[in-house]
Amino acid sequence: MTSIGTAPPPALELSRIAKAFGAVIALTNGTLRLESGSIHALVGENGAGKSTLVKIIAGLYQRDAGEFLLEGHPVDFTSTAAAKAAGIAVIYQEPTLFPDLSVTENIFMGRQPTGALGMIDRRAMHDEALALFERLGVRIDPDRPTLGLSIADQQIIEIAKAISLDAKVLIMDEPTAALSGVEVDRLFAVARSLRDEGRAILFISHRFDEVFSLCDTVTVMRDGAYIATSAIEDTTVDAIVRQMVGRDVTTLFPKTPATIGDDVLVVEGLNQPGVFHDVSFTVRSGEIVALAGLVGAGRSEIARAVFGIDPYSSGTVRVGGQLLRKRKPTAAMAAGIALVPEDRRQQGLVLEASVARNATMAIRRALSRFGLLTTGMENASARIWASRLEVKTNALDTEVGTLSGGNQQKVVLAKWLATDPRVLIVDEPTRGIDVGTKAEVHRLLSELAGQGLAIIMISSELPEVLGMADRVLVVHEGRITADIPRAEATAESVMFAATHSSGEAA
């Protein structure tokens, strides 16, 4: 809560912004002060109102009350175009580019430089794109189509676009969620150089290590309201977490030792050309095995193949000694495998269906009596699991898509725990969910392992991997390159194996 210099007007200043959607109040006091030449972190649990605030800045929503100043002047954006024209750019977690157009064409979409006779001046466009990338210190071929570029590269293109528009305020909404370590470093270098050019950057993230290494100021929000702004050197992770949740979060990774039993899942020599190669591993009951590695290393593909969604050309998957048929999720489910997929919104849930329908989707046959299934039977089962996992919803017929990310994840977990699985595969179980729910998910996984479940956890967050896993399997370019027991697993040993193809971790 340090005072900030008042000489020039801040690049962007919001005070007491309020916004409601019908009866749902999203923001009561959105307050934020962005200085030029600064990287400012905005943190808060999901549902704290960060996204709503960002959308008001971006011109997507209009505020109900409050003051919005841009470089000292009051503004009122009625469209995203107006916000863009005023120098505000938003980089989303997953950029939306035209896949078949070239990088250059994407940067200049809608405002291509023209030459004689109003023809597009391709040369000028190409040269300017090259200059932009040089300024950002990245190497992307401006002539290639954006199809097939990594999410990291796509974000860079969005940033290049913002700079070519001379954006004064850059908002990055969880930009690192899908990036690997190297890509994060590059993004941070770009962000720092933009800061040094005097732009104001707002960085939204759930990862505190990133907030502390990149930002100079941090603002915390909770329940739609501003809580505090501090200079980064004056605060600590514990203090921020306390401000975010309004209480002490006791343990983030409450792994309790569990009795490790017999082999439950045995995967041998799984191959799928171009995706993964010669993958063999075993998971025992009571054991949490983490699949670590860079994004795109093939971890999710291995999990999906084991569950029968994705194909594999050779190899075997056995559960309790019983051989599973390929490409048959129903066979995997019958054998006791449950998969909480990576993409909650596309794969985990039917967003437009109710909480009860989703929570009983995987057991709808078992729940039927004489072949009949009623909403009452679904509600009875859903109620048990919703209360066990403390899903925050008013009614069981609420559309699951209207819940917050953390609660959606709980519904996915409820859906799969209801099947009474022997093997639980969780793919990025805490991605994009708030700190409080994250701790609940970790506690739950630990508890389930204690009850004898075999758990495979795919995670891109090293602290989560190191905190939760009994054993870490590192995947690099589709191969398992290391099998590290808990005692020897360190950030260094896992990262080394994740970035080096020749086995043997340090």
Binding site: F21, V24, I25, A26, L27, E45, N46, G47, A48, G49, S51, G224, R247, T250, I309, P329, T330, M333, Q346, Q347, G348, L349, V350, L351, E352, A353, R357, M361, A362, R364, R365, S368, G371, L373, T374, G376, N379, A382, R383, A386, S387, E390, V391, K392, T393, N394, A395, L396, D397, T398, E399, G401, T402, L403, S404, G405, Q408, K415, D434, R443
Partner: protein, 349 residues
């Protein structure tokens, strides 16, 4: 660790809305209400409309559409479509006529016709689920293919010498009522389809596929098998409707029921089924078919020309589809971001 114990246990309501709102404020009930209003207005203002004979003919006319609309509803809810149904009616009619002419009794010939219909549906299902082609393209193709087979088999002639017992049965009424006997068959089918769609695990899978086939697959719904079964059912029910159609007019022809698929699809959409999949109910569809039937029958009795009738039913369909979009848009404005785009609506946490 201790905060779990401190929190009061959560209770959950079954439903966010009171019962009357959930029942009355639905698209299906809007169509049922419109149906009642149109019926009352027609009965009061159009001469002879309320006469029992009008009801008999009205139901005889829409019986085939009603039957075919049942599997069509399930198919459209999965996000697919079957345009070949009317051609399967024609094919079934020709199979029935040809075999009957060759000496087979109606029972046996009818059974063969239904099997042929099911096979025709399986052909659609094969190209859609095994080969992976879009149903719109596949069934436009088989619409022409099955019709071509039907006309090719029988040429431009017609088989008319059906046993009188059967042709009379097709037109008969339930004793003491103006309601045709064929409605018994329809009601049995409608109950069966309503149970499958609304009260079975298979039905839950149908809705899930329509809303998100990827999420359905990840939940262990066998998307391909479900669709295949639905297309086979559609073929079989269309063939059954073809048998009724043939016996009712006492004439097996290759060009029977040409264009009927559009009436079926129009009625299903009017009945509240979303063309994008995932939403719909059997009772709404029945109301949709009857609404179009009553409207055109009343207008015909009022001496309105068929062009004008087409304009009115067409406008009604467009209005119903547009009104859904407007309602959805208004709802999005009211409650914030939609479900498909953007993050979840804030404030639930």
């Amino acid at each position: 660790m201790t905060d779990t114990a401190q929190r009061a246990p959560r209770t959950y309501k079954d439903f966010g809305q009171p019962l009357w709102r959930r029942i009355l404020l639905t698209r299906e009930m809007a169509i049922v209400g419109l149906l009642v209003i149109v019926y009352l207005v027609a009965a009061l203002s159009v001469r002879n409309f309320a006469a029992p004979i009008t009801i008999t003919y009205l139901l005889l006319d829409v019986a085939a559409i009603l039957m075919i609309a049942l599997p069509m509803t399930l198919i459209i809810i999965t996000g697919e479509i079957d345009l070949s149904v009317a051609s399967i009616v024609g094919l079934s009619s020709v199979v029935l006529g040809t075999l009957h002419q060759a000496g087979l009794p109606i029972e046996a010939a009818g059974l063969v016709a239904i099997v042929v219909g099911a096979i025709a549906g399986a052909v659609n299902g094969f190209f859609i689920t095994v080969v992976g082609l879009p149903s719109l393209a596949v069934t436009i193709g088989t619409l022409a293919l099955f019709r071509g087979l039907a006309v090719g088999l029988l040429g431009t002639t017609a088989v008319t010498d059906f046993t009188e017992f059967w042709t009379d049965l097709a037109k008969s009424k339930i004793p003491g009522t103006p309601i045709p006997s064929v409605m018994i068959l329809f009601v049995v089918l409608a109950i069966a389809f309503a149970i499958v769609l609304h009260f079975t695990a298979f039905g839950r899978g149908i809705f899930a596929i329509g809303l998100s086939s990827e999420a359905a697959r990840f939940s262990g719904v066998n998307v391909e098998r479900t669709k295949f079964i639905l297309f086979v059912l559609s073929g079989a029910v269309s063939a059954l409707a073809g048998i009724y159609y043939t016996l009712r007019f006492g004439s097996a022809r290759g060009d029977n029921a040409t264009g009927l698929e559009l009436s079926v699809i129009a009625a299903v959409l009017l009945g509240g089924v979303s063309i994008f999949g995932g939403r719909g109910a059997i009772h709404g569809v029945i109301a949709g078919v009857l609404l179009i039937g009553i409207l055109s029958s009343a207008l015909r009795l009022a001496n309105v020309t068929s062009d004008v009738i087409n304009i009115i039913t067409g406008a009604l369909l467009v209005a119903s589809v547009v009104s859904t979009s407007i309602l959805a848009w208004a709802r999005r404005r009211r409650v914030g971001p939609g479900v498909k785009k953007g993050p979840p609506a804030p404030g639930q946490d």
